[in-house]
Each structure stands twice: as C-alpha cells, then as structure tokens.
Amino acid sequence: MTEIDERAEAATGQGAPASGLSLRMFLVLVVAPFLVAAAAIAVASLTRGGGGETAPSGTTFTFEIPAGTAERMARGEPVADIFPERMAASVGDTYVVVNLDDALHQLGPIVARAGETARITFFQAGTYIGACTVGDHDTVTIVVT
C-alpha cells in the first residue's frame, strides 16, 4: 500500500467512527450538525452584550492635541481650536483623542493624560458635556443622535 493509499484509507476508514457509518453518513449525521451548532455559537458569541444588541457601526473621528498646547495657552497665545464648543455625532461614532502635549487635557467627556490616546464610542443618543482645556471655550457639548 502506498502512502497515498494509506491516506485515502485513513480518510475513508479510520477518520470515521467505528460504528460502520460511511464517511458520507458521518459527515451528514455528525459533522454537519456540529458545523451548524458551531456557527450559531460563534454568531451568538460575537454579538452578545447588554440586551443582546450589536454595536452600531459608525465613523471614527480623531482629534490631535499638539505638543506645547498648554504652554502656549499659559502664555496667552492662541492655539488651534481642534474641538468645537458644540459637536454633533451619530450613535456608533467613535471619538479618539491623541494628546501629544505634555499636560493632561479634557475634551468634554474625554480626559487624556500627557502623551496618551483615549477613545470612546457613543453607543447611546444623548448629550455629553464636559470641560474643555483646549481653545477659547470652557466646555464641550457633544450631542449624539
């Protein structure tokens, strides 16, 4: 028996259960139900969460706080207003704040340490308000619809 013959025999004989089921029957009776169940488990696992809901897809917006921002503000110099006082977002949108400065900054609900990247996904409609340490406005309001 050649190596190929042995592989073929293994696939058609030893790979199946010893009860005498043919490979086709084994695939139909055992493997197919396993595949269906496995797929169901996988889908359930990937979508489980609060209330069984899936996260809505959205757009990711990135806001970079330049290095030296706090220092320029302390000197009374203007800085780029990277984050408007009032923003509109959609449910599912993600805001990423990349703080390249050497000071802690807050942009509404997001607080980022020096050199840190912080992100939040807005999963629920509502109004998010918080302080703003960048630019010429003291607060940021993000309205999520």
Partner: protein, 217 residues
C-alpha cells in the same frame, strides 16, 4: 489516481471542519467584544489609592477600615465620586449602574461592587452616605474622608476633580464634580470609564465584557 481523489476530498472537508472549529474557539474564547465606554492605551492604575470605608454606620459611624481601589479576585468595582444631595448626576448614574447590573446573570451581578466616594463629606454623614449608596447596590461601599488632601489624591488617580463652593456663612451653595463612573478590575486597573449619560445598554455590555476578562485571568 481515482483513489487520490477520494483521499483528498475528505481531507479538504476535515480541513474545513478544523478551520470552523478554530473560528468557533476564537469567537468563544478570544477577546474581546469591544468595550463601549472610554478606554485608554494604558489603563489608569488606582490600586495604590486607599481611603476610609465606613464599616458600621448604624452602631459606630466613626469606625472605618482602609478601602483599596482594587476589586476582589474575579470581581469588578464601579467607582463614582459624588454626593448625596446631588439632584441629577449622581442618582442618575447610580441608577443606571443598578439597572445595568440587574441585566447580568445573577452570578455575574454578584461580582459587581459599587463604590461611592463622597466629595461633600461635611454634609454626607456616614449614616447618610451608607444609606444612600446601599439603595443602589447590595454590594455597596461607602467611602468617606475628611482629609481634603487624601480626597484630592484619590481624585487625581482617577483623573477626576471636585469643588465645593460655600457662601460667607460657610453653607454649601454648589458642588461640582466629575460625573464619570470607573470600572476597576481585580488588578486595580480602570478598564473602562463611563461619562455621564453613557446609558444602561453600554454599561451592561461593558460589565459583561470586563467580567469575562477578570474571570479568565
């Protein structure tokens, strides 16, 4: 040659079975449903923070024990800085945390502790604070210090802040505070942060996700 064909087709089928099984294992065991609250590249580390926890407000309000901001093994803490006279932010957030916890399996819900750190200790007496936070959780921790420096240090560890404004007579006229809730794991890491208004759905989702993580660890 025909036998080669017979041999390779089942081999492909088995390869498919293995691939599907691998996918299932990855989906079931691999992380990680994405957290929906605010996350950082490097989580805040708050295990080094200790404040007094009220132990027995009913019989001995002055009695406290050190409370470390690290959940017991396999559990999580939801930490909130607030005050009991708060008209909106505190009761809303704590009620949402309670609702989110009730959506969990009972076994998971029992692994969620709720910690309220008062930012207004003069008015939040031990009895009042314990009664308040206990109304939102069966696993409540009432944390209170009269040492402003200790409170400030704790707030800074969480990147939180608070201000109590008084009139000339010393009466409190306003209390401003960070309204974020922090989920702390059993390593003392803030895994996810929920800004005010984050919502019950997102909280429940994140609690499930973090509880799966701490159970595996």
């Amino acid at each position: 040659m025909p036998r080669i064909t017979r041999g390779t087709a089942p081999t492909r089928l088995w390869a498919g079975v293995v691939a599907v099984a691998a996918f299932v294992l990855a989906a079931c065991g691999g992380d990680e449903a994405e957290l929906r609250g605010m996350v950082r590249d490097e989580p805040l580390q708050v295990a080094g923070v200790t404040l007094p926890e009220i132990v027995d407000a009913a019989s001995d309000p002055a009695r406290t024990q050190p409370f470390t901001f690290r959940a017991p093994p396999g559990e999580v803490l939801v930490v909130f800085f607030g005050f009991t006279n708060c008209p909106d932010l505190c009761p809303t957030t704590l009620a949402e945390v309670r609702a989110a916890t009730r959506r969990l399996d009972p076994g998971d819900a029992a692994r969620v502790g709720v910690v309220m750190v008062t930012v207004d200790p003069d008015r939040d007496t031990p009895e009042r604070l314990v009664q308040y936070v206990s109304s939102f959780s069966e696993r409540a921790h009432a944390v209170r210090t009269e040492d402003p420096a200790a409170l400030l240090a704790a707030e800074q560890a969480f990147l939180a802040s608070s201000t109590v404004v008084r009139d000339e007579a010393g009466n409190v006229t306003d209390v401003a505070h960070t309204a974020t809730a922090y989920v702390v794991d059993d390593q003392g890491r803030v895994i996810v942060e929920w800004p005010f208004g984050f919502g019950i759905d997102g909280m429940a989702h994140d609690l499930e996700t973090v509880l799966r993580q701490v159970r595996r660890a």
